[in-house]
């Protein structure tokens, strides 16, 4: 089975957001990167699916900078067999559609049976690329998956919805976006890291696709207003109720 896990590098959790001088992006100078949390689940599911089927290959696919291979090598250390990096210096300013177009162009050459992605990238929070890729490819898209079985040309997924858990059957090839709970991603063991050095990593220059949407301004959330103590003990209750009704307007 030919499996692809699509991943994105995102700023690590300790990164501090600071707008650039032109106000149109974030200053990336001090950023460390990691694979987006849900994409790690996608890699793990790809590897587990290959192990369950007993044959096949897992390709890790990303769109990113040419020198940002450490995070991609980590995916190979965790069981991916090879990697394809669609290199673009402006990877961070691409909109969801132009990212999806680039992935689709590459996926069309790969003869994949299953494409796994995280349900959302933890930086932009769009949750758009997975469904877009499936739509452009004309494949089933099963999103927010928390359980999966794959057999003979089809899959059965458990999907989290607001109403509860749905069980969905779909045909292959398909795009599956992974929700927390689907699996527990493994750590990159030392042997995996050593083995990853020998695995192929191919860089491909994708065709340019114009953005349809542009970020024109990035602003930090407004600082929280300072609190106010209305009084102490039971005597303060009337003043508190007054404030909740007329100032905060929550009662």
């Amino acid at each position: 089975m030919n499996i692809v896990a699509c991943v994105k590098r995102v700023p690590s959790t300790e990164a501090v957001a600071k707008p650039t001088a032109d106000g149109k992006g974030l200053d990336a100078a001090d950023f460390q990167y990691m694979i987006s949390f849900y994409d790690e689940i996608a890699v793990e599911q790809a590897v587990q699916t290959k192990e369950a089927v007993g044959a096949g290959e897992v390709t890790v696919l990303t769109l990113g900078p040419a020198n940002g291979t450490k995070e991609i090598r980590e995916c190979l250390a965790k069981g991916g067999d090879k990697a394809v990096v669609l290199t673009d210096d402006n990877w961070q300013s691409r909109d969801a559609r132009s990212t999806a177009k680039a992935l689709v162009a590459q996926l069309s050459t790969m003869d994949a049976d299953l494409v796994f992605m995280g349900r959302v990238a933890t930086d932009r929070d769009n949750a758009a690329v997975g469904p877009m890729v499936a739509t452009y490819l004309g494949w089933p898209c099963v999103s927010d998956v928390i359980g999966l079985e794959v057999g003979d040309g089809k899959g059965t997924a458990k999907v989290e919805t607001e109403a509860g858990v749905e069980t969905v059957e779909f045909s292959l090839p398909a795009v599956v976006t992974c929700q927390k709970g689907l699996n527990e991603p493994r750590y990159a063991g030392l042997k995996g890291i050593m083995a990853a050095k020998k695995k192929p990593l191919e860089e491909v220059a994708p065709e340019a696709v114009e953005n349809q949407s542009e970020v024109v301004e990035v602003a930090l959330p407004p600082a929280r207003k300072e609190g106010r103590i209305v009084g102490e003990g039971a005597a303060a209750v009337p003043a508190l109720i007054e404030a909740l009704q007329n100032e905060a307007k929550v009662l």
Partner: protein
């Protein structure tokens, strides 16, 4: 609690290879998610989290520099150093566990063992299926191991061992012990299965340091091992001392991890704790302490990195290891003491890691060559005159 941020004042991350950083980050992540949540309870209970041993093995931290054909990962020494650093960010007891398994048990078997010994023991030690311990120190012989009283004598096709070893990490939970004993007056190493008649390992209880680590005595009374149990490749005190050089290399890195942990926790605390309307960190006395600690940690990082590169080039020396161990461990201990103070009353609780690190480091500054002995080793190298006899 803020996410752990490791001080890198001189941008040393640039100096590591991609796979060295991957190894570091893998162990860092594991320690944060799997080890740290439970360490306070283990420290209080005086237990090691044995349930995590298979995960440590899966991660590959047991003897990572051992060749792949014997179950290791074939890593370089800098990667091993970074592993020690991240393990000791968790607890000195965790790093000690792996130092013993890797540097003191797997390393001598790989270096001085027969082909049969390597094939029999190394894969099991790498997979954590077998735990090892290292018996050199005795009740009356610590800094002067050459005076050891433990003996081996040949009887037919067996060696018979008698003696007592003290302060043995993992002693009572090990399946094999590397025991150093005098055979016809010469120090030799033996691989001793711990289930043999005459072998016992009572624990040292009631210690207030390295509590999340098992420390035992090894008692050998007429313990009979086959003649294949002797390490054939080394004869004399050079054997155990070369093992200690390996382990001390890891300690020089490990101590950095403990210092990083204390520094990071204290910095977060002091930036958030408000005293007289501003954070404690905004006052000049704390800032001086942070400046000193950041400088000391940075110097320690550079010492360890250079030592690691020299080791990988095959040209590091024992006095260099002495300098790095001595400097970095004392630096970490002083950092921990300063941080303990800077946490105020919280510093004496186990809710914060600083007090635990401070207590642990009192052992680390004592074992694997005391601070004073390393002082004399450096002194001997510099002056050409040995002062410790």
């Amino acid at each position: 609690m803020d996410a752990y941020k490791q001080l890198d004042f001189f941008e040393l991350d640039d100096q590591y290879s991609e796979d060295e950083l991957m190894v570091r980050d893998a162990v860092k992540g594991w320690v944060g998610e799997r080890f740290l949540p439970g360490v306070m309870d283990h420290f209080e209970a005086g237990t090691f989290p044995m349930d995590l041993v298979p995960e440590l093995a899966e991660l590959g931290v047991f003897g990572p520099t051992t060749p792949e054909e014997y179950g290791g990962a074939g890593m370089n020494s800098v990667a091993y150093g970074l592993i020690c650093q991240e393990l000791e960010r968790g607890d000195s007891g965790l790093r000690s566990f792996c130092s013993v398994q890797g540097s003191l048990v797997m390393w001598p078997i790989n270096e001085y063992g027969s082909e049969e010994q390597k094939r029999e023991y190394l894969p099991k030690l790498a997979s954590g299926e077998m735990i090892g311990s290292f018996g050199l120190t005795e009740p009356d012989f610590g800094s002067n191991p050459g005076g050891m009283l433990t003996t081996a004598r040949k009887e037919g096709d067996e060696y018979v061992l008698n003696g007592r070893k003290m302060w043995i990490t993992n002693g009572s939970i090990s399946q094999i012990a590397i025991v150093w004993a005098k055979l016809e007056g010469r120090v030799r190493g033996f691989i001793v299965p711990t289930d043999l008649p005459g072998f016992s390992a009572p624990d040292h209880n009631h210690k207030w340091s390295l509590r999340a680590s098992i420390t035992s005595e090894l008692v050998l009374e007429e313990v009979r091992v086959p003649e294949t149990a002797i390490l054939p490749g080394v004869d004399g005190l050079r054997g155990p001392l070369s093992c200690l050089t390996q382990a001390r290399f890891g300690i020089a890195w490990g101590a950095l991890g403990a210092a990083h942990a204390c520094f990071d926790e204290t910095l977060n605390y002091q930036k958030e704790r408000i005293v007289f309307d501003k954070p404690v960190a905004a006052y000049q006395i704390p800032q001086q302490k942070f400046a000193n600690m950041a400088t000391d940690i940075t110097c320690g990082q550079m010492l360890a990195l250079r030592l690691g590169r020299l080791k990988d080039e095959g040209r590091f020396t024992a006095p260099q290891v002495s300098m790095a161990k001595r400097n970095n461990v004392m630096m970490a201990l002083e950092t921990a003491r300063t941080c303990r103070d800077m946490l105020g009353a919280n510093g004496v609780t186990l809710e914060y890691g600083v007090g635990r690190h401070m207590l642990n480091l009192e052992s680390v500054v004592t074992y694997e060559g005391t601070h004073d002995i390393h002082t004399l080793a450096i002194g001997a190298e510099v002056t050409g005159i040995m002062a410790y006899r």
